[in-house]
Symmetry: C2
Amino acid sequence: MNDADGRPMTTAFVPGHITGFFSTHPDPEPAAAGSRGAGLALSDGVTVTVSRGAGTRLNGDSVEIAAVDHVIDHLGVEATVDAETSLPLGAGFGVSGAMALGTALAANAAFGCHRTENELVEIAHCAEVEAGTGLGDVVAQARGGLPIRLEPGGPRHGALDGLPARPRIEYLTFGELSTETVLAGDTDRLSAAGEAALDELLAEPTAEQFLRSSKTFAEDAGLLTDDVRDAITAVEQAGGQAAMAMLGRTVFALGTGLSAAGYEPAVCRTDAAGGRLVDVEDS
Amino acid sequence: MNDADGRPMTTAFVPGHITGFFSTHPDPEPAAAGSRGAGLALSDGVTVTVSRGAGTRLNGDSVEIAAVDHVIDHLGVEATVDAETSLPLGAGFGVSGAMALGTALAANAAFGCHRTENELVEIAHCAEVEAGTGLGDVVAQARGGLPIRLEPGGPRHGALDGLPARPRIEYLTFGELSTETVLAGDTDRLSAAGEAALDELLAEPTAEQFLRSSKTFAEDAGLLTDDVRDAITAVEQAGGQAAMAMLGRTVFALGTGLSAAGYEPAVCRTDAAGGRLVDVEDS
């Protein structure tokens, strides 16, 4: 497609991604660095439109997002990135990863970069790793569904599986947690808890076990905040299941867990497709 | 979900899959056997509903589909499979692969088999290989999009990539070709042509190059039928691009290729998600 001035313009949609638990696996090579763990790709996501120009906007505001800049530099294009999302920012929904992957997909199409999907996912994954803003969101967002990161890294190094389910998801955010701060701190305890949670999930690969393993992880990793703990307890007292999104002061639940407990959550589904180009014929 | 009698009942959707070119890679282990090549996952597909019982129906008619039986046996369930599709049968759309994968996804959910997505894809892939009805459809149908089969086999052995595009697709079928007969014959010439086509596509990974490589493959492999050749020529004379679906007397085109040449084709899009559970909330 072209914009009103006839310049190439392409739009991609990338699902939000909630990580329930993870372990960190640093590596000198960004394409091999990453995380193991599991999460949910959400039908609420980020729409990224790329055209010729410069500068990045998020919901109409100019922003600096290092991962997006890295993607543009790597592809060697001069691009304006215009992103729209209803997802909370800095609260564990993988918005920076979605912007990096959406920029890669849309810029490749707009500027004829002739990369494959794996190559674009690797570019966006490396951009996130180099920016220090994420380790596993991009590969999960590219896959869609309920992704399990079996092995860390981009497509050439990592390995993915998924839970065959399509639950309704409710979520509620109390505020931000800094991914950079947590990832820059002592991650040994966190990673031990993440490895244990992954073993548990692979022994019983269901959405319900994913919630149980995620809740245990948040406690064992020492990341649970009081507001999130209170909400999880309230959901459980109402007969539901909830856990904490990594990394944000965000609680998520299966089905009607939060609304049954009296909250007014955002509601979405899992997104089966993962990051993809969209156009007017899709809407 | 339950059916009217309260029995568990689950539905999956699996996209149709057109293979443009391929090479065959037999292996004593079905999970390692498969094909390399590239194709299109179609928004036209097969809806598979599984409940307790026995017997398989396709568009209301009782059918025997060996790959479906293998999946049911492997999961150890007693299941009725009810499949609906608008796709032509035996004409290169991967209907048997879609039924195998849809049965695996839906039966796992209906009967609580606790398999991961990779495990279900492997079960369906092996069922197709053992039945002799397909080598690469299942892994492509599980992935969605425009799948490139880089390495043959199920998820533990194979490797996939994809073309980052979402073209409109038109198709038209003149009749059946037997997959079993072609795969049981001399596949050396076919596989040499398939390997050459894959190299070409990876050098320029675009939808347009996929059509060019697919057309060359059909000629070089000696599979092009006169009716399909005539239709491809007509599309090209009208300024479009078309190729032959493997394995069927089916022509497919990008965009409005067939309709611009005066045909009345079926029209769909590529399906970005691949095989997935569906339920009433999706419709």
